[in-house]
Symmetry: C2
Subunit: 131 residues, 2 copies
């Protein structure tokens, strides 16, 4: 499998990835433990920006089928692991904003976005807005 | 089906849509003729920006299984039609940049992006970068 998400942060790198290849990609913690996988991406319709990758942790950690929106800039692709790495501990996840698959989320409610971004804080990889 | 992509261009509208709901959504021309559907989205990995919606036109118009990357800002969601509208004629599509599903595309080749953006020109809905 080729690299679906190496995130070299230089200008003009212009690496593109298909959304249907991101969906289903594994997610690991920084120790290399597999946490789950990306179920879908939440996209700002007007700006065309990926706001969140929604993580599905299955039955792992007792989180059941919960979905965890993670700001896109919290994800780093690791070619060795073949998946994304997030700098999030189990303890952090237990308290993280989440929803159930059958739950109706009002994504236009700015409080939801503020809560998610506030919970995870600035990207450990720096802002990419200026790239 | 609720509106998966109404694109009200005001600041802070913050309308989000799930990538797996965009995939498969119908695409129409400005006369309301169904052209095909969106097969996937091409996302800039670093910036987290949707660069293209990849249109699949099936066997319609004799285009076989070709895929047509369209700049995201060329798409407008029409609640009445229940799909995206693109201001593209059949004649334009016949000449548009495309690829086959089994074709290996070097998406890091900036000439490809320049060709696609140059072909369709500026968004008819204005720049959304400043939103």
């Amino acid at each position: 499998m080729t690299d679906p998400g190496g995130q070299a942060p230089q200008r003009g790198a212009s690496g593109l990835i298909s959304s249907d290849r991101v969906e289903g990609t594994a997610v690991f913690d920084t120790s290399g433990n597999r946490l789950g996988s990306i179920s879908t991406l939440m996209i700002d319709k007007v700006r065309g920006r990926v706001e969140y990758a929604v993580l599905s942790f299955g039955g792992f950690l007792g989180f059941g089928g919960s979905r965890f929106p993670l700001p896109w800039d919290q994800l780093r692709y690791d070619t060795g692991l073949g998946g994304y790495v997030v700098d999030v501990t189990e303890e952090q996840l237990a308290e993280a904003p989440s929803f159930k698959p059958d739950e109706a989320i009002d994504w236009s409610d700015e409080r939801w976005g503020s809560e998610v971004r506030g919970y995870y804080g600035p990207s450990p990889y720096g802002s990419r807005d200026g790239l």
